[in-house]
Symmetry: C2
Subunit: 225 residues, 2 copies
């Protein structure tokens, strides 16, 4: 399975292609925590020289996805229950901020997009394809952070969300939760529509709380194996 490949379609400097490739490989679990990232090995595998590999690793380092050991190189950072709880704690706060700001700033068009995103999500849950559901979920949240008009917030929320990429399916696969998810989305939508910060914030908070429960129980399951 350890068989990620470079996507040559992209018209980007190699360092960015490598960065995206490694990033995705880490977030999807193709590169496992603790695994060493050896430059020549990766360079051969991806068909580039060491330079772009190194530059990509520098960025992964700053993102916290790999840790550097001096004179030994990079390895994939461990994802612990603690580190995920930390991420979720921050994300909860920023998601609440997002919906609150959206209450103030969303435009008429944004509101329409949000409604159709809610409906799309609802439709998606009727099918069986988890990746379609996940995509609909992401789109919905993207519309909200976009509505804040705060680029920094958008960047941070996206980054924090991606930290949990590996677990994005656990709370979506569980069909018994679908009605709950739909209701939460609808509550957030209504809150923003009514420009009711408290309502929207409470719903967003609940939304993350539920995700946290799913993800944490999944981690404990994995640890036992």
């Amino acid at each position: 399975m350890n068989d990620f490949q470079i996507d040559m379609n992209e018209f980007l400097p190699l360092r960015d292609v490598v960065f995206n490739t490694l990033r995705k490989a880490i977030l999807t679990g193709q590169l496992r925590p603790g695994e060493r990232l050896m430059e020549v090995h990766l360079a051969n595998k991806l068909g580039v020289s060491r330079t772009p590999i190194r530059e990509a690793i520098r960025k992964l380092e700053l993102e916290g996805l790999v840790i550097m050991i001096p004179r030994r190189g990079a390895e994939v950072a461990q994802i612990t229950e603690k580190s995920l709880k930390d991420v979720l704690e921050v994300r909860r706060s920023l998601d609440v901020l997002s919906v609150e700001l959206a209450c103030e700033r969303i435009t008429r068009e944004g509101m329409e997009e949000l409604l159709s995103a809610c409906e799309e999500f609802e439709q998606a849950t009727k099918g069986k394809d988890a990746s379609i559901i996940a995509k609909a979920d992401v789109k919905l949240h993207d519309i909200i952070v976009e509505a804040t008009g705060n680029q920094r917030l958008k960047q941070l929320v996206n980054n924090l969300s991606e930290q949990m990429y590996r677990y994005r399916f656990v709370y979506i696969k569980d069909e018994s939760q679908h009605d709950k998810l739909i209701a939460e989305h609808r509550e957030i939508y209504e809150g923003i529509l009514e420009r009711n910060k408290e309502k929207a914030a409470a719903a967003a908070r609940l939304h993350i709380d539920n995700q946290e429960k799913s993800i944490i129980s999944q981690i404990r399951l994995e640890k036992r194996m």
Copy 2:
């Protein structure tokens, strides 16, 4: 003025030394927004080769301190009123989260440190040295985020604070504001002591609001010049 130098005392890979050097130069304004970072030039200036320079630039890029223009290289990112407002908006939210978590989690020792930090700050304001005041202020806030026990939060708050490094003096130099700052710190301290989240959060929010006012008026002043 454009005369930053490498600090050779540090025992770190050159890329990290260069990263820290450039970072500081940008945050203090020695490297001005819009200024180009040319690799050979920096390499000669700092007495290293292009490789560590490039790796440092990759990290600055991810931090948003420089922007990359393809085939043209890096230049120092512009700091606009909008981008600072965005940063402050996020920071307000995370500072509030920090004091709320501190209410739950701070230890007895943490509480003692916080008290003495408050007193140190109060003492510092009696002197005239702004950098001592600034340092006392930073220490106080460090104790709070440390008390949350959330490493990710700590990293993000520190990063966001540093984005405003250039303006750290504007709200500290103004002596008429000192009493207000002391009172706000004291209010935060009391809130955490009483484990009163609402009180602590309100004080933290007020604290950032006041900083924002100082910084924004300073920026408008600079723009006019």
